[in-house]
């Protein structure tokens, strides 16, 4: 990996739309930087690369990036991306989604994209809440967490999105955090290179809501949280209470949808 050099990254891959609408300290900016860093590493041609997002703070990322970009409807980014990819297979298609976008309203598209194994890469900006609408609980909100709709502590269990994607059939499943920037970037690189559907969970933050309501006002505290709770994946996935594994959690080979379709259906 080369040095960050934010200015060069911005010049090469961003539209003149900065600053972002994100709140001070929101890690969505860091995750986006890691993503673009990966794009540079991959040396993707922006003209042959399409970034697709849903609706949410995280999903606003596409507006800043100088590629073919689509800001779709809430939860539907993967479904749009499916059409974009199938109608023009030579495109590299990367999907940016929030945890709410990808796993609340968009949960069905997530599991079906995982199952179908079309060559897409999904990066979920996971901050455990619906930032855009004001910090309500999400399917990723931890039990006991305080949100604007669970002021006494959340009663549900969260999804483990990686486990879910894998069970649904995803052939590449990885997790990192904004804090583990280099690793995150590397995992995205590998995800894009992987032939088939790649799922990357990027632990992000929401200082304004999730942070403030749970004693982590600042973006820096959120980074510290990530550092302290993430543990490298050891091949078993078993981690101490409250911790979570990061790394490539699953990798397997399965026929890519378009390849099979072209050979077996069109080629028939």
């Amino acid at each position: 990996m080369q040095t960050i050099n934010s200015t060069a990254l911005v010049q090469q891959y961003f539209r003149p739309k900065l600053p972002t609408i994100w709140c001070p300290g929101c890690a969505h900016g860091i995750v986006t930087k890691a993503l673009v860093h990966a794009v540079r590493e991959l040396d993707l041609d922006p003209k042959k690369t399409v970034l697709v997002s849903g609706i949410g703070c995280s999903s606003r990322a596409t507006g800043y990036l100088d590629f073919g970009t689509v800001h779709t409807t809430h939860g539907r980014a993967l479904a749009f991306a499916t059409g974009i990819k199938l109608a023009r297979p030579e495109l590299t298609v990367i999907v940016i989604s929030g945890d709410g976008d990808a796993s609340a309203i968009g949960g069905n598209h997530l599991i079906h994209a995982s199952r179908r194994n079309i060559d897409l890469t999904l990066v979920v900006y996971q901050n455990g809440t619906y930032g855009m609408t004001g910090g309500q609980y999400a399917p990723t909100t931890r039990t006991g967490q305080i949100t604007t709709t669970s002021v006494g502590g959340h009663v549900e269990r969260p999804f483990d999105l990686c486990t879910l994607a894998q069970a649904a059939g995803a052939t590449y499943v990885a997790r990192s955090t904004a804090y583990h920037f280099d690793m995150l970037s590397r995992l995205i690189v590998k995800g894009v290179r992987h032939k088939g559907f790649s799922f990357v969970e990027a632990i992000s933050s929401c200082p304004t809501y999730a942070g403030r309501m749970n004693g982590m006002e600042t973006g820096a505290e959120a980074l510290t949280y990530m550092r302290e709770h993430a543990v490298p994946y050891d091949g078993t996935g078993s981690v101490a209470q409250g911790k979570f594994p990061i790394g490539i959690l699953h990798e397997s080979q399965a026929p890519e949808w378009l390849e099979v379709y072209q050979q077996q259906v069109i080629g028939r």
């Binding site: 040095t3 934010s6 709140c23 001070p24 969505h28 930087k33 920037f181 820096a220 980074l223």
Partner: protein, 84 residues
């Protein structure tokens, strides 16, 4: 890494090799979140009234890149060719 080695296939001697980065802060993009200040292991920065970083002790910088890496707003850039 040695200074005489080639890097990126180009002859490193043609570029200006530094042992300190040039830290550029884009105050328009900076939102004063304080991350750079908090993550800097060397206390290079202090905060101004808006929480935005002021380069207080540039010489202490060890070019660890954390501030550049973690600034969520692309507001810090470390320029220069690392010496090591």
């Amino acid at each position: 890494m040695s200074t005489s080695a080639k890097d990126d296939g180009r002859d490193v001697r043609q570029e200006q090799v530094l042992d300190l980065p040039e830290i550029a802060i884009n105050r328009k993009w900076c939102k004063g979140c304080g991350i750079c200040i908090a993550v800097c292991p060397q206390d290079v920065y202090t905060a101004d009234r808006d929480g935005k970083p002021v380069i207080a002790q540039p010489d202490l910088c060890i070019w660890c890149e954390r501030c550049d890496m973690y600034c969520p707003d692309f507001a810090i850039n470390l320029a220069g060719k690392k010496l090591w």
